[in-house]
């Protein structure tokens, strides 16, 4: 094989990698799947083990705290002061619902980006039209995520007022660390969504590459949601 034909071949391969389309270049991959999506799924697999370790520790230490306050039962300290059961199921049920709905908004945001450029029937109603607005759904997801974080900071603050901090007992240490780790994941997700929204507002999200950007963010977001589904049942509801 001479250098000339080699160069010609390589040139053929390179075409499409032109600089004018820097963020649109796609690499040939063996499976046809995008590298970033494969990496994100692998990352999610790793996160399964992270939360498995955190949840295991919470469950292992459940009922092992030598002093209160406790999650589901009252506690009277030696001085006679009564601490009520800490967990606030109504508030957490509301925040759980909010996070579930954020997943719904997220999946519609992805759908909206995927439907960009596809014709909309003139008879389409408000629901069909709304489904086309990626900005609306991205904003909705980010807002619902923020509301969830608001619930969590309310919860944390009121727990501290009721006498439970991360130092108080094993329940406090495991509870704040587990839910705090989850909250940190939600925070990263909200920032990620905001940056997508910013891109959408500045140049519009459309095309295969942008669909992928939203897709991997959505995968992360839904995963954070399913972790909460597990936490809500295992930590809040089971006594």
């Amino acid at each position: 094989m001479t250098a000339q034909t080699a160069a010609a071949h390589a040139q053929g391969h390179a075409h499409g990698h032109d600089a004018h389309d820097a963020h649109e270049h796609h690499h040939y991959t063996t499976t046809g799947l995008d590298n970033r999506k494969v990496a994100v799924w692998t990352f999610i697999g790793s996160e399964c083990m992270l939360f498995a370790s955190l949840i295991s520790t919470y469950l292992i230490y459940k009922g092992k705290s030598v002093i209160g306050p406790f999650p589901h039962t009252e506690w009277t300290d030696p001085a006679g002061k009564v601490y009520k059961a800490i967990l606030d199921i109504p508030v957490t049920s509301a925040s759980t619902f909010v996070l579930l709905m954020s997943s719904f908004a997220m999946v519609l945001a992805l759908q909206a980006v995927q439907l960009k450029g596809k014709p909309l029937a003139p008879t389409a109603g408000w629901w069909e039209r709304l489904q086309r607005s990626s900005q609306f759904w991205l904003l909705a997801t980010a807002l619902l995520g923020t509301v969830f974080l608001g619930f969590q900071s309310y919860e944390f603050t009121s727990f501290v007022h009721e006498g439970l901090t991360i130092k108080t007992n094993l329940f406090g240490s495991t509870f704040f660390t587990l839910t705090g780790f989850h909250g940190a994941h939600v925070t990263v997700g909200v920032l990620w969504l905001m940056s997508l929204l910013w891109i959408d507002r500045s140049r519009g999200l459309a095309g295969k590459n942008d669909e992928l950007l939203v897709d991997i963010c959505a995968l992360y977001w839904h995963f954070v949601d399913v972790v909460w589904i597990a936490i809500f049942t295992l930590i809040y509801l089971i006594k």
Partner: protein, 637 residues
């Protein structure tokens, strides 16, 4: 370390424009990153070896006063930590980086900049965790840092802080690299390179990446708990608050046992490349080798509590973990038999890499057998925390991992540098290494069975341990000589070694079809693979006549511009060939520095220097975020 990683392009005209220090700092080329991993890890290997030499000097005779008890604690802690996290894992990573793209017919890894980031985080984390020993404040809680021993109640000094934060940093490096290599192996294979045609080193590396991805989170969590306990007063390991002293042990070994396979499987992969090459035969039982590797990976997650038989988990738990441990010996034994069968009736050439590979089979088998002895809980109760265990894991780690890695270094040195390592010196190194290793570690079986506990810094005479300890120490000195010979050979051969061509050993896989050292773009034309041994198909078809061939999988790919497997002898620049290459960039380094600064700010927290801690941490976080932003918004190529 980058500065000592001098470029080694012997006789390359094209690469001359890219050899300054800046080209190494900003490189995103997997081969250069692999080279930097290799030099850095070898440096840390010397550091860990020096620590071992000091340990053995202290134990040479009864009641020596060579080092203090405090220093001794730091030495054995840092010896273990350095060898596991800073030497053997990164030596494997050097091969992952250098070889995986070449073996699968790719031009780089899936995320070249993330790859550079992994290296820089490793380098900085390694410095962070190693430097304290110069000031006698190094970690001193053992390489598995059992809590509550490592909580502030029992370890008040800053020593453990460096360990907790340092391991956290190194974990980021390993995880980032693992996501990268999994994606690379799944997605960057040349047309026709199906999973069941992957070279065995790539296969074993693939398994290892999944082990990393699943094993590092538990230790991350255990370390976060310890960090919170030490810095923020949480109660995870506070026995007075009701904590269970076994929590750390379980979380650590959920990581720690897969970690053992993380250390050994890449070496298994390397010898699986070396043995067929120097036996001139395809690897015996390729499929079974793959399945046994996967099996080891899965079972590796189900045996962790055999490190804890002595804590009293109860008969049921002991029995289950005993059984699982005996089970995992099966796929491992299968590999050993397959290697022997590979050599059987082959045209064996006893080159230095081949000798190291054969030594792995022999030495690892000894370590494996003492390992199966531990799987029996009653026997293990006698052996736990004695030198018998030390003998066991040095036979698998030194006799296994290090032998395999040396086999890999001698085998791939010609590919990486274009020159052979000196065969005579290599032989001297091999024999000194083999004898030194056995002289060091074999007597430990006896001193251990006679009851000598691990981690003691002095022992009284008259317990029957004296001669064995003296032998172990002399063996260590022999290993020092062996390593010096190796270091001399490794450094000198870059300029004086005999020039090697594309394929100096007559090997079968794609990395040998391109010039040595490979050009920046690796393959001018991506080859279309039709069997497991593409180069033997080309040069010696008789050898692979019995192996399945097909074009079927390659045909589904239409636009890869692949050509049949061929040898590439001409060397060009990517620019001449019009191959788009990633831009060099220092943003990964900048981001890595930000992350390490952010973590290191935490060390100030325990001195009530809250303002300093916050300033450093927030400054580092700002660097990290700024670096990430610049990185993600800059085009790759």
């Amino acid at each position: 370390m980058a500065t000592i990683a001098a470029p080694t392009h012997a006789g390359t005209a094209a690469a001359s424009e890219n050899t300054g220090i800046w080209s190494w700092i900003s490189t995103v080329d997997h081969k250069r990153i692999g080279t930097m991993y290799l030099w850095t890890a070898l440096f840390f290997f010397l550091v860990g070896g020096l620590e071992a030499t000091l340990i053995r000097t202290q134990l040479m005779r009864p009641n020596m006063g060579f080092v203090s008890a405090e220093t001794y604690n730091q030495l054995f802690t840092m010896h273990g930590t350095t060898m596991v996290f800073l030497a053997v894992m990164p030596l494997s990573a050097a091969f992952f980086n250098y070889l995986i793209p070449l073996q699968i017919g790719a031009r780089d890894v899936a995320f070249p900049r993330l790859n550079a980031f992994s290296y820089w985080v490793y380098l900085l984390g390694g410095i962070f965790i190693t430097v304290p020993i110069l000031f006698q404040i190094a970690p001193d809680g053992g390489w598995f840092g059992y809590a509550p021993l490592t909580t502030t109640q029992f370890s008040a000094g800053p020593n453990i802080d460096f360990w907790v934060i340092g391991l956290q940093i190194l974990g980021v490096s390993s995880l980032a690299a693992a996501f990268n290599f999994i994606t690379t192996i799944i997605n960057m294979r040349a047309p026709g390179m199906t999973l069941m045609r992957l070279p065995m080193f790539t296969w074993m590396s693939f398994v290892v990446q999944f082990l990393l991805v699943l094993a590092f989170p538990p230790i991350t969590v255990a370390l976060v708990f310890l960090l919170f306990d030490r810095f923020f007063g949480t109660t995870f390991y506070a026995i007075a608050a009701g904590a269970d002293p076994l929590l750390w042990q379980h979380l650590f070994w959920v990581f720690g046992h897969p970690e053992v396979y993380i250390l050994i499987l890449p070496a298994f992969g390397l010898v699986s490349e070396v043995l067929p090459t120097f036996s001139k035969k395809p690897l015996f039982g390729y499929n079974v080798m793959v399945y046994s590797g996967i099996m080891i990976g899965f079972l590796g997650f189900g045996v962790w509590a055999h490190h804890m038989f002595a804590v009293g988990m109860g008969a049921i738990a002991d029995s289950i973990f005993s059984t699982m441990t005996m089970l995992i010996a099966i796929p491992t034994g299968v590999k050993i038999f397959n290697w022997i069968a590979t050599m059987w009736a082959g045209e064996i050439r006893f080159t230095v890499p081949m000798k190291f590979a054969i030594a792995l089979i022999a030495m690892f088998t000894i370590g494996g057998i003492s390992g199966v002895m531990h799987s029996s809980a009653p026997a293990d109760l006698q052996q736990t925390d004695t030198y018998f265990v030390v003998a066991h894991f040095h036979y698998v780690l030194f006799g296994g991992s290090i032998m395999g890695i040396f086999a890999g270094i001698y085998h791939y040195y010609p590919k990486m540098t274009g020159r052979f390592m000196h065969e005579g010196l290599g032989n001297v190194h091999f024999w000194l290494n083999l004898i030194g290793m056995n002289l060091t570690f074999f007597p430990m079986h006896f001193s251990g069975l006679l009851g000598m506990p691990r981690r003691v810094y002095q022992y009284d005479a008259g317990q029957g341990w004296d001669t064995f300890n003296l032998m172990s120490t002399y063996g260590t000195y022999l290993l020092v000589v062996a390593t010096a010979v190796f270091a001399w050979n490794f450094i000198r051969s870059r300029s004086t070694g005999a020039v090697a061509g594309n394929d100096p050993w007559g090997a079968a896989t794609l990395e040998w079809s391109i010039p040595s050292p490979p050009p920046e773009y690796n393959f001018a034309q991506i080859p279309e693979v039709t069997s497991r041994y593409p180069l033997w198909d080309l040069k010696d078809p008789a050898k692979t006549a019995g192996i399945e061939h097909s074009h079927a999988d390659a045909m589904t790919i239409t636009d890869a511009h692949a050509v049949p497997v061929h040898e590439e002898t001409e060397r060009h620049t990517a620019r001449e060939l019009g191959i788009p290459m990633p831009f060099p960039t220092a943003k990964p380094l900048f981001t890595a520095v930000g992350m390490v600064v952010m973590f290191s700010g935490l060390t100030f927290l325990r001195y009530d220097m809250f303002a300093v801690a916050m300033t450093v941490t927030i400054g580092g976080a700002a660097m990290l975020i700024g670096g990430l932003y610049a990185w993600l918004t800059a085009p790759l190529e």
